[in-house]
Assembly symmetry: C2
Homo-oligomer: 214 residues x 2
């Protein structure tokens, strides 16, 4: 039957695709976001056109690659979010999970955050990276959904939850990016500081002597 035949072929193609993605992964892990198609093909032991047959263009490959890592990270975050503990504990666990991930694989993380590197970006027929960070968006939406599901925010809760989701994710991201570059403190301290911020310590803080305060 052609169904079994096609299934066989499809499975083989899927396997190949996964192998290629893993090779690409290794290269990105080594070279960061500016990994070239040639380098990826070489790592996989093949040549460029095959990559293009499998993924269309560089944007396709990057999207597939990004989705793998994004899915994995989102799973971890969901686990931290779903842990049986107090709200503050879970917020801290979520922040810590994210920071641990970017700490473990900075190159991959940079790739996920800034995949628009493509270069001249000819985009003949397709618009790769029209806005830059699919991971940020997905995390923001996800967190927004969770917040809306579980918190009682009164009217406009949907809007508010989504804004907060994107806002919190952005806070996490920017602080993590800065922290990763300068390492001004331990991860634990960073987590506590950010959680404190979310817990309203900014509003609660007293003014410093000499001025009305921020």
């Amino acid at each position: 039957m052609d169904t079994t035949e096609r299934t066989d072929q499809q499975r083989s193609a899927d396997r190949r695709r996964r192998e290629l993605l893993e090779a690409a992964d290794r290269v990105v892990l080594r070279d960061g976001p500016q990994a070239s198609m040639n380098a990826i093909a070489a790592e996989a032991g093949i040549t460029k056109p095959i990559l293009y047959r499998h993924f269309g263009d560089k944007g396709g490959l990057y999207a597939a690659l990004a989705q793998r890592h994004t899915d994995a990270l989102l799973d971890s975050l969901r686990a931290a979010l779903d842990a049986p503990a107090e709200r503050r504990e879970r917020v801290e666990a979520t922040l810590d999970t994210y920071l641990a991930a970017i700490e473990a694989r900075p190159q991959v993380y940079r790739f996920l955050m800034h995949p628009a590197e493509g270069g001249q970006a000819n985009e003949p027929g397709f618009d790769i990276g029209k806005h830059s960070a699919p991971l940020l968006r997905r995390m923001g939406e996800e967190l927004g959904t969770v917040i809306e599901e579980r918190l009682d925010l009164g009217p406009d809760s949907r809007q508010l939850a989504r804004v907060w989701g994107h806002g919190i994710v952005g806070m996490m991201h920017a602080a993590g990016d800065w922290w990763l570059g300068e390492r001004p403190c331990s991860r634990r301290e960073l987590v506590r500081s950010l959680a404190d911020l979310l817990w309203g310590r900014l509003a609660a803080a007293g003014d410093r002597i000499g001025g009305p305060g921020f």
Copy 2:
């Protein structure tokens, strides 16, 4: 005298430099961050090598361009931060100033946030765009300084203030980016929602029926 002569030349060079930057500005405003050196040169009515004589490489041009806008935006933010009003009012004014800026010139804003486009990045002697967003970093540092200057945060206030600075800026950025793409609400509403987040409404919110809440 050679002093006056050199001053003349230097002034002429500076004028030229400013003209070139304005031409580059126009192109970036039109084409976004992927504006090519050729296009910028053409807009300025000259050819590539002159750009390279003035700015060294693309990174140099982008850095100069970024600094102009970054300085301007930071000035606006400082003004909002320094207004004579309650803390909450000023936080909202600052958020609104930033959002108004990115709303007015999305292309420029995208350029400032993702200038790492460099491409193959030969980097013969220099490392352009090693981390991606100088504007974010500068805003984060600036805000951190302001917070530390004016708020009494107890011990470790320096660390805490810097973390908060980068965190708040990141929140502003991510939420703004998302908002700019989807326009899910008015700017005013967005500002209020973010200020509410910073004011601890996340911690204060009640659980929804059926679960322990986020």
